[in-house]
Amino acid sequence: MILSWLRRGLRTGVLTTRYPVAREEMPREFRGRPALDAERCLAGQGCDRCVQACLPVALSLATVTSSGRDKSAHTAPQLTLDYGRCIMCGLCVAACPADALRMVGDYELASTASDDLRVSAVFTQEADASGRDYEEKNNGRYA
């Protein structure tokens, strides 16, 4: 009987993948992390639909003080997406009226600092030199 198992095992060969040396491709439908496209986001215009749709409060809106080009301080809405709280359910994507959120295949979210898992965008209401009316904050991993 041991021989039968041995034969079976040898015939199967090696199926172990080369991850993490080689990337493991996920199917198109796979829900990794949600990615935020601040350019499309309407949080600056008072939209909070994704925040309402988020059960674990991974998405949150806050009001922050930012200094504009004239150096005067004024308040601006800040949308924060915390991958440490996200459960990848995709309900925010369905709720977004502007297609600013979409699920991407990226599932490699391990990090040694919880701050690294937060991305946010501050909507300054006025365009800077490059024409952008928002400032993105993240550690560069989630471009």
Partner: protein, 529 residues
């Protein structure tokens, strides 16, 4: 399903004046009211005259609208294809009832949970102690009372741990867990041995209590499946299905036929990867390394197909109240067909090899016997119950989704040993493949989702599903604003863990324990929502 008015008159006749009221509360559901002190007698009558199977016991705080508490027992009347609720209204100041443990041993843990979480006392309970809450939980704080909110901070007190009397001379206590190697969840066993023989075991579970029932109160309808899916990840689809079916019954909405068929398909895919993983784990326990790898390969194929279909390897996010969140195209269905072909071919070979492997069989035969009378007394469910002569399967006895429209067999064995539990799962795997083939051959077209209106206030509903580990029940009561006022979950593992302890002492040696544990294949988180 039999006419419920005939059932009501039989109930009135059998229970006599102990019955305060009997009525039909929904299609296939009958409710009777009894006085709390008459409960033990009524339960005995129901079990004797109606062969009623106990499935759940829970309490409900009726305040502030009404006074006092309501104790609800749920029974399954399989022959009549009906659910029977027994209600007993309890006093607000000193809520109590006569313990049912003597007449119904399975009620033990349920009564302890009611006592601990609602503050309702089962009189003459043989061992009234905390069950699921943390050891430092303060006395007199009852999470199931209407004044308690899930956001509430609870100040811990000096923890009280259960201490076993020291082992007598010649007896050795062997602690196992709660932290163990691999990806096993937390659970602590204290194995008491005399030489090699296992003479007793004390079980400490409930390290994973998350208060899910409480968390679901007041949550928006579309968020509820997210909560149900997290009761036990490996039964996520069955749990969200039971919840969605309860919501759909409350709203009196029928889901489109295509959604019913696809739900059946996905439920069987969940059973497949669970049963394949079960065989792999059991082979690991018996040291059959190649067989373990072979079953794990098949399980991984199942999980990858799930990711392709649902976008999630464990089928999260598929069920929504009113149907499914997405439809499948022909390509996706073709991928299912291909996997079924592979599994059918491989399972035949692997089953044959496995059953012919003497080293594997030797470890399983006569090991961890759960006697049919114990399985019945503790109302064991699922493959564990079916391996010990409990001929029940919700898919056949209370058909849901599209199970009434497919043909399948329910394997039942009487021996109750680890071998029987393995054999049942091997047979069920083949039956699942048979069901999936039929579904793929007769899949109707059309929509997979129908929106639900706001739920009617005060409406109660039951949803159920046969998860890979056995029956799970979700009962809910709708509050004023269309959200849930009370959510009750009875998982398969909660029912089976009580029976697990009975399979240990008497005929096993210490090294049998990993095999027995794997052969039950119970979920820790599943028992502890």
């Amino acid at each position: 399903m039999i006419d419920s008015s005939a059932l009501q008159s039989r109930l009135v006749f059998a229970c006599g004046e102990q019955l305060l009221n009997a009525e039909q509360c929904a299609e296939g559901e009958v409710v009777i009211d009894v006085a709390p002190d008459a409960l033990p007698q009524v339960v005995q009558t129901l079990r004797r005259e109606f062969r009623a199977i106990f499935v759940d016991l829970f309490g409900l705080d009726l305040r502030p609208e009404k006074q006092g508490f309501r104790l609800t027992l749920v029974f399954s009347l399989d022959e009549e294809e009906n659910w029977l609720y027994v209600h007993a209204d309890l006093d607000a100041d000193a809520p109590q009832f006569s313990s049912l443990v003597e007449a119904l041993p399975a009620a033990d843990w349920y009564e302890r949970a009611v006592w601990e979480e609602l503050g309702v006392t089962p009189r003459e309970h043989p061992l009234l102690a905390g069950l699921r809450l943390a050891p430092d939980w303060p006395e007199g704080v009852y999470p199931q009372r209407h004044t308690f909110r899930w956001q509430q901070q609870v100040q811990g007190v000096e923890p009280h741990y259960f201490e076993l009397a020291p082992a007598p001379a010649g007896i050795v206590d062997y602690p196992l867990g709660p932290v163990r190697s691999g990806v096993v969840e937390s659970g602590h066993y204290l194995l008491r041995t005399a030489g090699e023989e296992l003479v007793d075991m004390r079980l400490q579970l409930f390290y994973k209590h998350r208060g899910i029932e409480k968390r679901a109160e007041g949550v928006a309808l579309e968020h509820l499946p997210l909560i149900a899916e997290r009761i036990s990840g490996t039964s996520a689809f069955a749990h969200s299905l039971a919840l969605c079916q309860a919501l759909e019954r409350a709203a009196a909405v029928g889901v489109p036929p295509r959604a019913r068929f696809l739900r059946t398909l996905l439920a069987e895919l969940e059973r497949l990867y669970n049963h394949l993983g079960f065989q792999a784990d059991l082979c690991q326990a018996t040291g059959l390394a190649v067989a373990q790898a072979q079953f794990d390969i098949l399980k991984e194929r199942g999980l990858r197909l799930n990711a392709r279909l649902a976008g999630h390897r464990y089928l999260f996010g598929m069920n929504v109240p009113g149907g499914l969140s997405r439809d499948f195209d022909e390509q996706a269905l073709q991928a299912v067909r291909e996997l079924v072909t592979v599994l059918r071919r491989d399972m035949e070979t692997l089953s044959r090899l496995l059953l012919a492997s003497a080293s594997h069989r030797d470890r399983l035969e006569g090991t961890g016997i759960l006697k049919p009378e114990d399985a019945q007394a503790y109302c064991a469910v699922g493959p564990i119950g079916r391996a010990s002569g409990v001929d029940r399967d919700l898919r056949r006895d209370h058909p849901y989704a599209a199970y009434a429209e497919v043909d399948f067999a329910v394997p039942v064995l009487e021996t109750g040993d680890a071998m029987a539990r393995t054999q049942i799962r091997l047979d069920e795997t083949m039956q699942s493949l048979h069901i999936i083939t039929q579904i793929l051959g007769s899949l109707p077209g059309g929509a997979v989702y129908v929106p639900l209106e706001q739920l009617p206030a005060g409406k109660a509903a039951l949803g159920w599903a046969e998860s890979p580990r056995g029956e799970c029940l979700h009962w809910l009561l709708v509050g004023e604003d269309g959200t849930l006022r009370r959510y009750r979950v009875r998982t398969a593992s909660f029912a089976n863990w009580q029976a697990f302890s009975l399979a240990i002492p008497g005929h096993n040696i210490l090294t049998d324990f990993p095999v027995i544990e794997q052969s039950f294949g119970l979920s820790f988180a599943g028992a502890d929502c």
